[in-house]
């Protein structure tokens, strides 16, 4: 079944090809394939042609290999190792190399601007690709950590939607936390 091709149509009517095994990295696509409703092309009205190749790239790397994508999603920690019946040191080494290689790949893969990040999060959410969603959401979280509220509003283009009275109140909170922050 590895050679079966699936065709995906982006919101702007461009068609992309993907192996069925790779497509199975997406729960949404997997359900469509297993549901037998496959009619040549799967339309994806929420994913544009700008971002679909990026999604396909991820699926190619992780499709049909759910085990390792899970491990990566958990920060590369292999939690199941100890319960494997035959613990093999060679296998363990190979696994480590594979995990390291995947991490490196992910690092390069994740090198993009914020607009792509939004698009990828939305696509991963829509297509139910857990590994990709974890990866992108974690990146977004890392962009918030350690920032000030001002920096966050600016970076993420969030407008404060408080009424002037609430804003006064909020500035007090902010100042108070700035004080407390200084001790950490």
């Amino acid at each position: 079944m590895s050679s079966t091709k699936i065709f995906l149509k982006s919101s702007d009517d461009k068609t992309f090809e993907i192996d069925e095994t790779a497509a199975r990295a997406s729960e949404t696509l997997k359900n469509i394939i297993d549901g037998g409703c496959l009619d040549g092309v799967i339309p994806l009205p929420n994913v544009s042609s700008n971002i679909l190749p990026k999604v396909i790239e991820y699926c190619k790397k992780h499709g049909g290999d759910n085990g390792s994508s899970k491990k990566i999603a958990n920060g590369g920690v292999d939690k199941d190792k100890e319960i494997l019946p035959d613990y093999d040191e060679e296998e363990d080494k190979r696994e480590k190399v594979r995990v390291d290689e995947l991490k490196k790949w992910e690092e390069e893969y994740m090198d993009f601007d914020q607009q792509v990040l939004y698009d990828l999060m939305l696509a991963a959410n829509y297509l139910h690709i857990k590994g990709l969603l974890d990866l992108t959401v974690e990146k977004a979280a890392s962009m918030i950590r350690g920032r000030t509220p001002d920096q966050i509003r600016e970076n993420f283009n969030i407008n404060s939607d408080f009424t002037p009275e609430e804003e006064e109140e909020m500035i007090l909170i902010e100042d108070e936390w700035d004080d407390e922050w200084a001790f950490d």
Partner: protein, 408 residues
């Protein structure tokens, strides 16, 4: 005015386009302190920290990653909080130079009213602390400063002979306090006719659920020995003896069905093993049993909760490396699996390095030490029944007082 630049709004997708499930997913990965601080970013972020669904999501995630381990202990009228990572990075190497900074006094929103009360940290669960004093019990979320005062049931009892348990039942989704009151039968023997349960978040009062035949280890000791307990599987566990028996066994009190149950010791235990003091702890999510003998210090873990066959010795260290430390050794937390265990003894905190076979002492101000330390991770968990209501501003002195309980 503290606002983002509005001219950037011409971009195709902004933060507000993200569906709330993605936004919640992102924010649930942030530490509690950041979330509280970022309330001022926008209305949605402000409301999130009081949203019960989000609070649970954040709690589950932080339970997985276990960041920001803190130790909480009381000393007289103060409650102290120690950031273990910060303490470890500085204290171990500098041998005491930084010791005073390592303790941070917890802000008790109710302390001004009770300056002279002596506190005891009776429980810690999901970011909530249960503090006991002569005046009553206080449940506190130190991160949000929300608290709740529970006056004791209006009966005659001695705090010294009372055991408190505070925990959470995932089955009923409730936080509860259990209060087990002992009375002297004779000079060296106690009995318990009164067990009270309080369910947090309702306007209920203490409910009496009868007594128990189990005598929890420590209750017959005049020195009010700190009760070593373990919160596992929605139940709290203590070492106890039966009504007539002198041999010890773990017992559990389930916060869901409010029943006491007896558990078994590891099968490999011989009769003489049970005469040495042994205690329970929750380590790495497992119910764990530890015993400090002259020759060695052992920890067993019940790998499959409730299955007596699953007791496994997970840790054994010959006592010579421990003998420089006086007093009972109590494991608090596994810092690194199979490598490092954080322990307390009557003389302070220590990190047992199993690989190097040595002990690092965490240098703290000695006089602050009192061995009733609890593990604590910050959370947003609320004590109030008014879930989802508008969050009040966190005040510097006065926290938010949740609905007060009434005495029975």
């Amino acid at each position: 005015m503290k606002r983002g630049k509005q001219e950037q709004a011409s971009r195709e997708i902004t933060w507000f386009v993200l569906p709330s499930e993605i936004e919640d997913n992102i924010l649930s990965r942030l530490p509690v302190k950041s979330l509280l601080r970022f309330r001022c970013v926008c209305k949605h972020w402000c409301n999130l920290v009081t949203n019960p669904y989000f609070i649970k999501m954040q709690l589950n995630r932080s339970n997985q990653i276990k960041e920001g381990l803190k130790l909480v202990h009381a000393y007289g009228a103060e409650v102290y909080c120690i950031d273990v990572e910060a303490c470890r990075n500085q204290c171990v190497e500098t041998r005491g130079q930084m010791k005073i900074k390592m303790h941070k006094e917890l802000v008790l929103p109710f302390r001004d009213q009770f300056k002279n009360l002596f506190w005891e940290v009776s429980g810690s669960c999901n970011g909530l602390l249960c503090l006991s004093t002569y005046d009553g019990l206080y449940l506190l979320n130190p991160a949000t400063q929300e608290y709740k005062r529970l006056p004791y049931p209006k009966i005659r009892f001695s705090l010294k002979l009372t055991v408190f348990g505070f925990g959470y039942s995932p089955r009923t989704d409730e936080y509860k306090v259990v209060m087990i009151i002992y009375y002297y039968r004779s000079e060296h023997s106690v009995h318990c006719d009164d067990v009270y349960v309080y369910t947090v978040g309702t306007n209920s009062s203490w409910r009496s659920i009868g007594g128990t035949e189990y005598r929890i280890e420590g209750t017959e000791n005049w020195f009010h020995y700190p009760y070593h307990h373990a919160l596992v599987n929605g139940a709290i566990h203590w070492m106890a003896r039966g009504k007539l028996s002198f041999s010890m066994a773990p017992i559990s009190f389930d916060f869901g069905d409010e029943k006491f149950r007896k558990l078994s010791l590891p099968k490999s235990f011989r009769q003489e093993d049970t005469t040495h003091p042994m205690w329970l702890a929750e380590l790495d999510g497992f119910l764990s049993l530890y015993q400090c003998k002259v020759e060695n210090f052992n920890i067993w873990a019940m790998k499959d909760y409730g299955d007596v066959q699953s007791w496994t010795k997970v840790f054994s260290v010959a006592n010579p490396i421990l003998c420089s430390i006086w007093g009972l050794f109590k494991p608090l937390y596994i810092l690194k699996k199979d490598e490092e265990v954080l322990c307390e003894s009557d003389s302070g905190y220590f990190i047992l390095d199993l690989v190097k076979g040595k002990i690092c002492r965490l240098y703290l101000r000695d006089e602050l030490y009192n061995s009733s330390t609890k593990i604590y991770f910050e959370s947003l968990v609320s004590l109030g029944a008014d879930h989802g209501s508008k969050q009040e501003r966190r005040g510097k002195e006065g926290g938010k007082l949740a609905v007060e309980a009434t005495g029975d």
